[in-house]
Point group: C2
Amino acid sequence: MKLYSFFRSGTSHRLRIALNLKGLKAEYVAIDLRKEEHSSAAFKAINPQGFVPALVTDAHEVLVQSPAIIEWLEETYPTPALLPAQAMDRAHVRALAAVVGCDVHPVNNRRILETLRHQFKADETAVNGWCATWITAGFDAMEAMLHASSKRGTCCFGNSPTLADVYLIPQVESARRFKVDMARWPLISAIDAHCMTLSAFQDAAPLAQPDAS
Amino acid sequence: MKLYSFFRSGTSHRLRIALNLKGLKAEYVAIDLRKEEHSSAAFKAINPQGFVPALVTDAHEVLVQSPAIIEWLEETYPTPALLPAQAMDRAHVRALAAVVGCDVHPVNNRRILETLRHQFKADETAVNGWCATWITAGFDAMEAMLHASSKRGTCCFGNSPTLADVYLIPQVESARRFKVDMARWPLISAIDAHCMTLSAFQDAAPLAQPDAS
C-alpha cells in the first residue's frame, strides 16, 4: 500500500495511527501542503478532491476520506479490532470519534484558516482564538462523554485503543500547537499520556514522519 | 424511540431519512435552535454536547452524533441495507458521505455562521459566500467521484439509496437555501431529483416536519 500523507495533517495522522495499530505497512508518499502539492495535477489524478490522506492498495485501488478509509481498514483487517463488539458500544466509540471528525477538525483545518486570514482579515490571535473555541467545545463534550462512561479505561473505551483514540490523539497534538491548555480536560490528558506510551501512536506522530520539518 | 430534531438541521434531516429508509418510527421531539432550546438544561441532560439530533431508544439509551447513530441503525436494523456488501464499495459510499459530513456541513452550520457574524463582523453576503465556497468545493469533489464511478445509478451507488444519498440530499436542500445554483452539478441534481420521488426522502424534508415554520 501507499499512503499519501502530510506530517502535520490531522486526518493523515489518524490514518497513520490506525495503520500502525493494525500492524500494516504502507509506503509513505509525502504531499507538502505548504508547497500546494495537494493541488498538483499529479496528486489530483489520485484524489480529485486534492486532500490528504489517500491510501492506494497493492491492487491500485484508491481510498479517500479518512473516516471511510479507517472503516475499510477495520472491515478488511479486523484484528486487532478498533471497534467494540456490541452495537451500542460501537455507537459510543464512533460518537467520540465524530466529535473530533465532524465538530472540531473540519473547522480548524488549513483551508478554513487560510480563508479566515485572507477573506476575513483574521490575524494570528484571531485564528488561534477561532481554533481554541472549537477545540474547547469539542473537548468539553468528549470529557463529559468520557466522564459519563462506565466503559472508560486507560483508553477512551477500555484499555485498548479504539477509533475514539485514533481520532482524539491527533486533535490533542493540534490543540497543543494552537497553545490550548490541556489541563482543563484531565480524562483526555490521561488517555493521551497513556496512548503516547504505545509505539503505534509514537510512530504515527507528526515529528516521526519522513517529511517532518 | 424518540428523535430529538430541528426541522432545518442538516444532521437531523439525514437521520430522519435513514430512519424512514429503515421503516422505523420515532416520536418527534422538536428542539428549536432559534430559541436556544439545545442549550437548555433539559436537553443537555439528554445530550451534554447540546447538539441535535439525538436518538433515545425504548430502553432509554441515548445515541448522539449522526454518523454514529446512522452506523448503529445499519448494524441494528440491517434491512434494507444502506451500505453495499463489498468493503471497497462501502468505502466509496462512506467517502461520498464524508465529503458532506466532514468537509461541507461542519463549516456551514449554525454555530460557525453565528461566530462569523458576531466575531468577524460578516454580513449576510459574506456568510452566503462562505457557505457557497465550501458547498461548491464539496459538490465539485462529489460530482467528480460520481462521474468516475461505474457503480453510479439513479442513486449515488446503484439504484437504491445508500448512506451517500442520506448525507447528500440534506446538503442539496441547504445549498438551495444559500442560493447556490445547482446547475453546476448535473449528476448530483439528477440523484436529488430521483431521491425526492421517494417517500422516505419526502417525509424527512424540513418542511414536512411538525416544527417547520
